[in-house]
């Protein structure tokens, strides 16, 4: 410890000296200026962007009215209150300055580690005089009426002020004391940026004393008090152990070329040291997050580990452990920046502490995120930097870990600050060329959509996604679009217009009321409304209307994405995903889009270069649209029926028969649900064709289709015409005609059922015989409850043998008969067999004699 301290002192003095008499100061200076300029530009832009990101969700500041005024409450004298506020402002200013300084330093640290432009930072307080910390003393001087004080006093006061500025600054901003001297911003070594252990001893608790009042000025007073060092909690060791084991796998991935035995041992030793350190810090933070923001900072400082032996591993470990730590300590609410009024207002000490913690946490979290983003960017741009601590090939591994961390945070902290920024980072990565990364991001996005109960996060994500897809000219992976399918949108607000008119009406009502109601009544009304408003605010659960509104907005963007693709990129690989998505959300589409959408779908089908699955999705989408509020349209989508009829026969019999499930859904929507609008001819034609289809598909598909047939027969009882062999109508059945209306299905019969009754799968047999009896719901031909209650889709899933198991299980071969026949010439009766065998052997013996009839014939003739 002493060694490091002295070393740092040496380095410090050396650096200071170098600053003044550096031989190549010109280059350094030019570098420095360039750096400063970029920093200023960036910080302005960054402030804007991060502020914008922040204001995205934080609503307007609360109204002034609702704040209690201190004067009323406390009846204190105005002078006292003024003094108090002044006092507070003074302290706040000091704290702010420290804070700013720390931020600036960290920024420069980041810059050193990566020569790229500075990352945008979130700036809470906009202050034009950001760069002017130097005049701290002068500021203070100005505040004093110097002309009225004697010189000695002045000296003393200055000293005091300096002291005050030291002690009153924000302690959470753990800034080394000498930082002020460094504000020249010479390129500092990165190890200097790391928080030091020895700093712990320097910690001083400050007791603020009442300020001395001097005419109109205030002189703050305070006292230092040494802190009692807290022991590390021994109990947390186990926790640390656990975390260690968690990270072991990461470490094994890294391999340093083995040149010497010592190197390896050294590395292992270093790693263990670091791991212990990480574990200690992590457990300390988790055990008491409110007081350990500094440790958090220290841990984060390890992200820029420079020891090239262990840099990669340590960085990975730190990334993952920081992620876990943040997941644990982040509060369940969103931290919003304090408004000016709130800063000025007097708060209790606990509140103040909480605020400090929040501020510290948020800045650390932000830096951490920035670091992750930087890592990912470095990997993408393949730039060698960060003082060569990490080799280029290791970037990939680092970036993957970073992406994983960001993904975890995306899912775990959707309510917390900077979630938008996380989304912005992740969305482009969803379309990454590396499959591993993109899959990870897509999965995370899916989980986010699935688990997002409020809708804010999904809305933001969908917005960014829409921009990304448009920006890339629809040249994205289908998986990206498929994530949208997991959006949890059940209901939306389809009648936005009515809602828009509603508030207007209310306003008018108020006006009317003003005329009609008496003064007292109005007063009551006002009070009531106020109460209602308060109650609304106190409501802990998320308002349903709000949710619906958010969902509507989200869905509008989703449809925007879909329609854009349908319109502009019909040939792209995204089409199946779009159709699938449209089919899923079709019932939520606005009525006005129906015509166009139906036209587009019909054109898609007519062009005919869709795969079976795609065209089935088209059909499904069309009918989903029509099944919802499309009822009012009163149209008969003949083309879609014809197309499905045509497609049915082309369904292949092979193993991945996922198309069947779509067909079953289509049939349900098209025939069973629309029974009133479908003609008997059409229904019969479909029943016939489905039975034909049953013959060549896999058994589970047969079961599903026959179950669908059963539903159709129930919906159209006149279909029993098909089971009646006696009846005859006009015309001849045309099995090859692709028009269900005109193929004369009344003149055919379901002979397929008889073939299916001899199927090897018992359930198929059962269904076939059930159908051939006219699908009765009771009696001898009725199905069991377990079969009749389930939907075709369920049956299809239940009897699938995707995992190579048979349902119902195949019994042991009991067919003796079969064995018997396969053996060869053999007879059932033992005795008979013996006789036959004997006869045969005799015959064989007398073969020549008995079989030579010709000879016998010739003999007789002669």
């Amino acid at each position: 410890m002493i060694f490091t301290t002295s070393l740092q002192c040496v380095v410090e003095s050396d650096r200071l000296a170098a600053r003044w008499r550096c031989p190549h100061s010109v280059t350094r200076k030019s570098l420095y200026f360039r750096f400063r300029i970029t920093l200023r530009k960036d910080s302005a832009a960054a402030r804007r962007s991060w502020d914008a990101a922040e204001t995205f969700r934080s609503g307007p500041p609360k109204s002034k009215k609702r704040k209690p005024s201190f004067r009323r409450l406390l009846k204190t004298s105005s002078v006292k209150i003024e003094n108090k506020t002044k006092n507070r402002r003074f302290k706040q200013e000091n704290a702010d300055k420290k804070h700013r300084k720390e931020k600036k330093k960290l920024r420069s640290a980041l810059k050193d580690s990566s020569i790229r432009t500075a990352r945008p930072l979130e700036v809470y307080k906009k202050n034009p005089e950001e760069e002017l910390e130097e005049d701290e003393d002068d500021d203070f001087l100005e505040t004093l009426p110097t002309d009225m004080i004697e010189e000695e006093d002045l000296e003393q006061m200055k000293a005091m002020a300096r002291k005050a500025s030291f002690v009153t600054r924000d302690l959470s901003a753990s800034e080394p004391v000498y930082s002020k001297k460094r504000k020249g911003g010479q390129s500092t070594e990165s190890y200097e940026k790391l928080p030091r252990k020895m700093r712990k001893e320097e910690q001083k608790e400050v007791i603020h004393l009442l300020p001395i009042k001097d005419k109109s000025r205030l002189i703050p007073q305070s006292m230092e008090k040494p802190v009692i060092q807290k022991e590390e909690d021994e109990n947390e060791e186990e926790d640390a152990e656990m975390e260690l084991s968690e990270k072991d796998e990461d470490e094994e991935q890294e391999a340093v070329p083995l040149t010497a035995e010592e190197r390896e041992t050294l590395r292992a030793q270093k790693l263990t040291e670091k791991k212990l350190r990480i574990a200690m810090l992590g457990s300390a933070i988790i055990s008491d997050p409110n007081n350990n923001v500094k440790k958090l900072k220290e841990l984060r400082g390890m992200l820029v580990e420079t020891d090239s032996y262990v840099a990669v591993t340590v960085r990975k470990l730190v990334m993952v452990s920081l992620m876990e730590v943040f997941k644990d300590i982040a509060p369940a609410y969103r931290i919003r920046p304090l408004t000016e009024e709130e800063k000025d207002a007097k708060v209790r000490r606990e509140t103040q502490q909480l605020r400090e913690f929040e501020e510290g946490l948020i800045s650390q979290y932000k830096f951490y995120l920035e670091n992750l983003e930087q890592t990912i960017k470095d990997w993408k741009q393949k730039k060698l930097k960060r003082s060569q601590a990490v080799a280029l090939p290791a970037y990939r591994g680092l970036a993957e870990v970073a992406v994983r961390c960001v993904c975890e945070l995306l899912v775990a902290l959707p309510h917390f600050n900077f979630h938008n920024n996380i989304i912005v980072v992740l969305v482009p990565l969803m379309n990454d060329s590396s499959k591993k990364v993109s899959d990870m991001c897509c999965e995370a996005m899916k989980t986010l959509f699935k688990e997002d109960k409020l809708g804010y996060a999904s809305l933001a994500a969908v917005k960014v996604l829409s921009g990304m897809i448009k920006g890339r000219h629809f040249n994205v992976r289908p998986e990206v679009l498929k994530t949208l399918m997991s959006l949890r949108i059940r209901e939306v607000d389809l009648k936005r217009d009515t809602e828009d008119t509603a508030p207007k009406k209310r306003f008018l009502n108020n006006k009317e009321k003003r005329k009609s109601l008496s003064r007292m009544q109005r007063k009551w009304k006002k009070a009531e409304e106020k109460l209602e408003k308060e109650l609304l605010e106190a409501e802990a659960s998320e308002n349903k209307d709000k949710k619906v509104k958010l969902h509507t907005e989200t869905l509008n963007i989703v449809f925007l994405i879909y329609f854009r693709i349908l319109k502009k990129a019909q040939k792209s690989v995204l089409l199946p995903a779009v159709l699938e998505g449209l089919a899923k959300f079709a019932h939520l589409i606005n009525l006005e889009f129906f015509d166009d959408l139906l036209n587009v779908l019909q054109n898609l089908i007519r062009t005919g270069d869709l795969t079976t699955r795609e065209s089935l999705h088209c059909i499904q989408t069309a009918f989903n649209i029509l099944s919802g509020q499309g009822d009012v349209l009163n149209i008969d989508p003949l083309k879609f029926y014809t197309h499905l009829y045509k497609t049915l026969i082309g369904l292949h019999a092979g193993a991945p028969n996922d198309d069947i499930i779509i067909v079953l859904q289509c049939l349900d929507v098209m025939l069973t649900k629309r029974r009133k609008q479908v003609t008997l001819q059409r229904a019969m034609a479909f029943v016939k064709r489905l039975c034909t289809l049953c013959l060549h598909v896999l058994p589970n598909a047969s079961i599903g289709i026959m179950a669908a047939n059963r539903a159709v027969i129930h919906a159209f009882p006149k279909c029993d015409l098909l089971l009646d062999s006696e009846s005859q109508g006009s015309g001849v059945f045309l099995p090859e005609l692709d028009e269900p209306e005109y193929c004369n299905p009344q003149n055919t019969s379901l002979w397929e059922l008889h073939t299916l009754m001899r199927h090897y799968q018992p359930v198929v047999r059962k269904f076939a015989s059930h159908l051939s009896h006219g699908a009765p719901s009771e009696g001898s031909g009725a199905l069991g409850v377990n079969l009749s209650r389930r939907s075709p889709g369920q049956l299809f899933e239940d009897y699938s043998f995707r995992d190579m198991t048979f349902n119902p299980p195949v019994g042991a071969p009991t067919t003796k008969k079969r064995d018997y026949f396969t053996i060869g010439p053999a007879l059932l009766d033992q005795q008979l067999k013996k006789q036959v065998d004997k006869a045969l052997s005799v015959a064989a013996a007398a073969d020549d004699a008995s079989l030579d009839f010709s000879q016998a014939l010739t003999q007789t003739s002669t």
Binding site: Q602, D636, Q677, V732, Y742
Partner: protein, 189 residues
Amino acid sequence: MRPLTDEETKTMFEKLSKYVFNNARLFSDSIGENIKLLVDRPDGGYCFRLHNDRVYYMSEKILKLATNVARDKLVSVGTCFGKFTKTGKFRLHITALDFLAPYAKVWVKPGTEQSFLYGNHVLKSGLGRITENTAQYQGVVVYSMADVPLGFGVAAKTTQECRRMDPMAIVVFHQADVGEFIRNEDTLT
């Protein structure tokens, strides 16, 4: 009685193709599938014959039998599809209804059925359902809600336009209905 000339065949099939599911665009390449089915039926050969400016559709067996009747004594044979007017146009008769397999259909509400059968147009208020993507002036077959064909006409508006019409606007122009079997009993042959 004679077979149709090329000119006559073309005129008649063009008219027919307005009603059947293979629409007129395909007609130039090949005759519509429905019309082809009318001629090449799986249950034997059928043919069109012209007699007294009327077109009759009959099986070849009937055709042979009909030769036994003198031309001036023959009133009707097979099914009358329609007649050629003096200006050379073809007009479909209601007797052809059974053989039309329409592309576009219109279902009328029960209240409007009678009105239509008396020879009136179909109004928007009486429209029960309509096939999607019906073009303007396309031939449509009118059905009752119980899927009984009632006659045929011409769509006055497209499907999309139908939705925005006021209830008293005409949707289908009347051409022929099954009421004619009684009203025009003597001229329908």
